[in-house]
Symmetry: D3
Subunit: 137 residues, 6 copies
């Protein structure tokens, strides 16, 4: 029974700022530099969700990627797109929205929603140059 | 002896349709939606073939990627490019041409043809948003 | 009153075949080569629609690109996506679906639907290597 | 004396929001939809600046693109990168930061700074799907 | 008779160095900086050739892009690919291989070879960030 | 303690040639073909460096990617950019600059410099079609 990894790529636009509210402004400026500037900046985020499993013999699908798209839309895009990741997203409350932490949080949102196959990886691109991947390890 | 993963990226254009001929038209329409439309649609497929091995000390190559390109051309591109994946490709006969199944079938075409190194992964991009990878597991 | 050019990029997947039904099969094979193969092939088409005008002083928009997207969806994507461009699309009947002819036909579909600004260009990418643009000239 | 068009592509990340402060909140919500959400969103902006001129016979350059990069950095990137385009950028004060208006404003910033050649176009990509170009017309 | 612009994108890899042999080493170092380093550097060049004309009523083509590809191959790629642009290419002798000058020289190579339609533009990308276009003006 | 993989993508331009000086010219020509041409060719190299670790609870970072960028700049870019990989780079002396060998050599340059987390992979793209990855195995 061959196992394949299927990936759906989606995108959303959001504002954020790297800031640890339990630390001083000075610590934040020194640690995060321009990523800490007070009035926010933002990104065209790209998210790649990979599901692993054996293709169903009747459909050839590990998972219907249109259905996976809908799950991602409901669990992530509808709450993050055109939002402020520090202020607006319930499941990110208390989390510094670094790319690493977004990948982990998105995984947790999706983890129990995959109807067939198993969630394998969530990769978040902040830009084409900076990205983070979480594989549930 | 360091082990590296070398990848060659190729592309071809083909028509296909998701359809299970052992099921009713209604089941097919419900399951595959617009991917089941009767007169075919198509894609600019991208295939990434990854071979793993130790670089040869005389050449610095795990495998000559120009040679790998020729193998992929002979085994995959010459039979798939500008073809209908449901009708024209002998090694896909009886297979629903989902991205998952294409990755597995392409792996099987290449598996015994790699002269040095070992086939590690075959990744097929149906679009920039949908892709499937098979690693021989 | 400064004039700007705004562009919306969309994509769809379709099958097609280059074939002139008024010519012999031999002429078609010689003229179109593998693009004439009988069982169709297909592409991930990308379309860029450019509208020219002065940004509205109240909105900053030449045209709301979300609205432009909806026009393109209604006039082009809904009839072309996952279809066969030779068989399924009413406004392409009798037209050889070369990239050039698609750009002209899409222009004609959109021409009278732009609520503000003026249609400036329609660019169609058949692949990342082949594209055609029509500017209404 | 042949004339060529040389382009330098740069990028920056910023937050913004489409909002006309002279209009009611309701008008803004209806006009701009999710682009008007109160806590900002953001983009990985890409800017392409094109300069037109005859290549210098001693250098082969219309303009040293490294020098053009420095001008863009000083005039645009240093004030926009990781900033809020509605709140932080002096030359955008009172301007709704639509892609169209950004292209015009960036042109005005650069217009008198090109040491050789002539500014020909400023193209701003808000995403890979939405872009606006200003050519000084 | 509608006029369209068709483009073929090709690529080649070459070494070069910006150096004016009629000037002193010091002038070259000051003018070209690291682009003048003595042992060459190189690029994955991308060339886009655009031809303008009316699509033929029998084929739907302004020009067969496969045929255009062969012309570009013969006139440009076969002499430039994997070569040193300062030393190896007859038609670049005596020319500083700036992106601007390459666009002009490639135009001159292609100018009289387009069997139908008219050469409209040659665009050369040295990197994704630096490019030059020549339109025969 | 969740483990994530963070990646920084960088690029540089260099000349190289595949040539084994311990072999005859004939062997080199037969083995490397046009990659062995005597006057060098070159590439826009892209390097992706991946570091694995647990995000710091105070910063949300596995590693500050701006800091990782500086390490890569110091150890790789400053010595490779606009250089000849066969002649100019001390840490490549005696190494055939195949993509495989570059990935291994860059790993060795970075290996002991990652202040937090662990080096997981170095991926080198010679072109968009050819790439090699080393994971320290």
């Amino acid at each position: 029974m061959p196992k394949t990894y299927v990936t759906r790529r989606v995108h959303f636009n959001a504002a954020h700022r790297l800031h640890n509210p339990q630390k001083s402004d000075e610590w934040n400026r020194e640690t995060f530099g321009k990523c800490n500037l007070p009035n926010w900046h933002g990104h065209n985020y790209v998210v790649e969700v990979t599901v692993c499993g054996t293709p169903d013999t009747e459909t050839g699908y590990v998972i219907d990627l249109g259905h996976l798209r809908k799950i991602i839309e409901e669990k992530i895009l509808n709450v993050c797109d055109h939002r402020n990741l520090n202020l607006d997203v319930p499941f990110l409350r208390g989390i510094i929205p670094s790319t690493e932490n977004l990948a982990i949080a998105f995984w947790q949102q999706l983890e129990n929603t995959i109807p067939s196959g198993t969630l394998y990886a969530v990769k978040v691109f902040e830009t084409e140059r900076n990205m983070a991947e979480y594989r549930g390890e």
